[in-house]
């Protein structure tokens, strides 16, 4: 059986694969793997193109070294969707619940409520990532492996905040569901 047709691999094998991929990134692109800078560049680019006043993009560009660009990292972020699509199509792992059970146990089975929650959470998460200049990829994998002090502070604080909020939101409901 082709390994791509398997629905899952050992988490250690996957982690080792991502580790080797970070060597390749450093060697070929001279950059660590990251995701969220591309979102900031895209938001600035879209603002510049469609709403230069309302987006406040000019004041941003005047004070920031980041510029709107289509670069290695942007293509990396896009490639993640393609790679996941290829992998899940090869294995037939594409039947996710429209509203996940843990979410439904607390907020009900409405897909609209779930999408609004995902939207708000996504916005908050991205805002936080850009405040800290990194995410679970840029800080918690790429930064920790380089032994960056900033990333070794970001990662445990982020994990504790995420676990605390998840427990506050779903702790009781999830316990009932089991």
């Amino acid at each position: 059986m082709n390994i791509l047709e398997k629905k899952s691999w050992s988490p250690y094998a996957v982690g080792a694969g991502i580790g080797v991929l970070s060597w390749i990134s450093f060697l070929t692109a001279k950059k660590p793997i990251g995701i969220t800078t591309a979102f900031e560049n895209t938001a600035a680019g879209l603002g510049q193109r469609f709403a230069p006043k309302a987006s406040g993009v000019n004041a941003y560009l005047a004070k920031n070294e980041e510029v709107p660009k289509l670069d290695w990292e942007w293509m990396l972020a896009a490639g993640v969707a393609l790679g996941s699509w290829l992998s899940s199509t090869a294995s037939g792992d594409r039947e996710a619940e429209r509203v996940p059970a843990v979410w439904a146990s607390r907020f009900g089975s409405s897909s609209v409520t779930r999408d609004v929650g995902a939207f708000i959470g996504g916005a908050l998460m991205m805002f936080g990532a850009r405040v800290a200049k990194g995410c679970t990829s840029g800080h918690a994998i790429s930064g920790t492996q380089q032994l960056a002090a900033s990333s070794w502070i970001f990662s445990p604080v982020m994990a504790a905040a995420a676990a605390g909020v998840a427990r506050a939101l779903f702790g009781k409901a999830a316990a009932r569901a089991h």
């Binding site: 691999w9 988490p11 996957v14 080792a16 580790g19 080797v20 991929l21 970070s22 390749i24 990134s25 450093f26 950059k31 793997i33 995701i35 979102f39 938001a43 603002g47 406040g56 941003y60 920031n64 660009k69 289509l70 293509m75 990396l76 972020a77 490639g79 993640v80 393609l82 790679g83 996941s84 290829l86 996710a96 996940p100 609004v116 995902a118 708000i120 959470g121 996504g122 908050l124 998460m125 936080g128 990532a129 850009r130 405040v131 800290a132 990829s137 918690a140 930064g143 492996q145 032994l147 002090a149 900033s150 970001f154 994990a159 905040a161 995420a162 676990a163 909020v165 427990r167 779903f170």
Partner: protein
């Protein structure tokens, strides 16, 4: 808008495809798996990230020391790191994916992740809008690109060996428990 050469873009795409396929095979683009990690009922995410960090560290430090790559360290600014980590973690608990895994979940066909992706773009736009006013706060107390070895005047290798040993011991214990 600045556009990088095609070779660099294709390299980014290829890296992203591999990253996305690994995330999908690791099952970390799934809401259930991430929430089970945050509620401390499953350690798949920790296994993937810990292994990626340790394996990555070995190669990245070797590449830098042999002159084939350079470190890319995010600055140590306590307000931005702590504030960003709390916002990021809170948002992640609500949306149920991190930025990279949101994109992987979109590739896997999860509709709630599409809402999360739009939220992420909105969060990036809000950051661009707020950046000029936040900049003095974000950059307060900047200690620069500090690494743990530099701060303690040690070689990176004991740190890397410590990371690798910890992850290896965890993996062996995990295997023996089954």
């Amino acid at each position: 808008m600045r556009i990088e050469p095609a070779g660099k873009l294709i390299l980014g795409l290829g890296t992203g495809v591999a990253f996305g396929a690994l995330l999908q095979k690791g099952r970390v683009g799934k809401y259930e798996v991430i929430l089970d990690q945050l509620l401390l009922r499953d350690a798949t995410v920790a296994k993937v990230m810990g292994t990626a960090m340790a394996v990555g560290a070995v190669g990245v430090h070797a590449l830098v020391q042999s002159g084939r790559a350079t470190y890319d360290i995010k600055p140590l600014r306590l307000v931005s790191i702590l504030g960003g980590a709390v916002l990021f973690g809170s948002g992640m608990a609500v949306t149920g994916y991190c930025p990279g895994t949101t994109i992987a979940a979109v590739g896997e066909g999860r509709r709630d992740a599409v809402a999360g992706l739009l939220g992420m773009l909105t969060g990036a736009a809000l950051f661009v809008r707020a950046y000029p006013r936040m900049k003095p706060v974000l950059e307060a107390g900047d200690r620069g690109k500090v690494t743990l070895p530099k701060a303690t005047r040690t070689s990176p290798w004991p740190w890397v060996a410590g990371l690798a040993t910890t992850v290896l011991a965890f993996a062996v214990a995990d295997r023996l428990r089954r």
